[in-house]
Assembly symmetry: C2
């Protein structure tokens, strides 16, 4: 079995050698730029890893993996507009460097490119891949809408938040893994296990992201710590902190940015929100590991390694 | 053969019975609203018409037709944002009635719904349909980018303009017709003829739109006459008028809106731009009719009727 770091390099090479058309420049330059910003490439790695562990043949895994990564990047470009985010990975977002209209349109064409890559897979897999991809893409949009709706909600419940991150983030990890299974001709039961594993680690992954946003180290995370608190974003941390009696107004009303972040760190820890959220993350991590029961023993290891990496990472 | 008006009613019924999910409301309400605004439904009618004239079987034509219409509406919702258009068909555009972010996201999910409808077609047609759809969707984005780029160009040449409307508008008409041919199992030569017919009448159709924008009757066209002139939009009319020596500055600098439109009407007619553009439209109309040579005589009539309707319409 190829190592995780080798698979990441393989995906990165595929992404970097991916050729967008030259013209119109204002449509494709932003995409070349965006892919140059890098990224963890987790999703395509999941597809390759799964395909390889079940001995899939041919180039299908690469096409499906690239489709997932292109789709993910499309959703990031559009989300950045909707979240009005000026930076991603320390560089200007597409709509900041160019403009909103170019962000919309280059995102749109990138979405098409995702389907184009998927369409390169063997025809016998195409209907199944396409149906799963469509279902997933729909859910990702629904999750993003829920996230936007939360901005205007006074209270968001834990279950709603989990459902939002399941849709916005996790289903694509599930899809990425099931893609690997589909093109390796595994049975439905195994496909379901792969999907569920992806989904559970996806939720754990997002909760980890929320934790890193407030409790991570700036140098490692690669962005300003406390962004969520500073923009009053609802995350499992803030939802739970409020529920546990933390004075959210005191935090919001602290004008000094550094103090506000520190106060949130102290308060969220004091009321037990941090501990609760860490436990929730571990719970989803464990559920992910449990779904591996359905798989042959030999395949489990690399998935376990991956899951552990996701919840223990410091970036 | 079913009549054109009957096909239009059939498509309209399919569109109106199309069910979007209920939740999230802010994602799907805009789509219910937008489809309620109506439209000419030309593109899906082309698919149904072609499929029927070549005796395609089953429900494939309806799924493919709906896919084309869903895609078209997705592109309109996003174009309206990029063109900053407050109204469409006399009603508020999605981003005006809701907001830009909702316009982006509901457009995105509509794009997925287009692929979802296409995926319902018989699996044996799916790879071919999907490849054509991806190619077409890419070109539509490229055409929209060219159109946006034109806003910042001092001079646009006739050939560039025709290429822009070919990509932005016509390829989708070609695709709609070829879809009908594919699911009717026609040979490649006939598919090409259908595609080219769609493409040529698409160009004629767009030129007719430009003509109606300045020389149509407000009550029939259903929008303010002279919109293109008032927003200094480059169209074949303005490109040709400028080339033929029309004083574009005099028109742009006329502050009174009514006078500006009247001046453009007079000047464009006087320098011969109107005549030239009408001739160009008729030329593409004729090219479309010529591609029908490749088809059996019995099938030609309804296509001819359709082409004539497009160039002679007053709305």
């Amino acid at each position: 079995m190829t190592s995780l770091s080798h698979l990441i390099r393989e995906v990165e090479a595929d992404i970097l050698s991916y050729q967008f058309p030259q013209e119109p420049r204002n449509l494709y330059d932003p995409l070349r730029y965006f892919f140059g910003l890098g990224g963890k490439r987790l999703r395509p790695v999941l597809t390759l890893m799964t395909a390889e562990s079940f001995a899939a043949k041919g180039e299908n895994a690469r096409y499906a993996a690239i489709a997932v990564e292109l789709f993910h990047n499309f959703s990031l470009i559009h989300d950045d507009i909707m979240d009005e985010a000026p930076y991603r990975r320390g560089k200007e977002t597409v709509h900041t460097k160019w403009n909103q209209h170019i962000g919309i349109l280059s995102g749109d064409v990138l979405f098409v490119k995702a389907y184009e890559s998927l369409a390169k897979c063997d025809h016998k897999y195409l209907p199944t891949l396409l149906n799963l991809f469509n279902k997933t893409a729909t859910e990702v949009c629904e999750g993003q809408q829920m996230d936007m709706d939360f901005e205007n909600s006074v209270d968001v419940y834990e279950e709603e938040y989990i459902e939002m991150i399941r849709l916005k983030t996790s289903v694509l990890l599930g899809c990425a893994m099931q893609f690997g299974g589909i093109i390796a001709d595994v049975n439905q039961k195994t496909q379901d296990a792969l999907y569920n594993f992806g989904q559970y680690i996806g939720i754990a992954f997002q909760i980890k992201d929320d934790l890193l946003d407030l409790f991570g180290e700036e140098a490692k995370v690669g962005k300003q710590i406390g962004g969520d608190v500073l923009s009053d974003k609802k995350t499992l941390l803030s939802i739970k902190a409020k529920e546990l009696g933390c004075d959210m107004f005191e935090i919001s009303n602290t004008t000094d940015i550094k103090l506000r972040v520190e106060l949130a760190q102290q308060q969220f820890e004091k009321v037990g929100a941090k501990k609760y959220v860490e436990a929730a993350m571990n719970d989803y991590y464990k559920r992910a590991i449990q779904t591996l029961e359905a798989l042959p023993r030999s395949q489990k290891e690399i998935y376990e390694e991956f899951a552990e990496f996701l919840v223990k990472r410091s970036y």
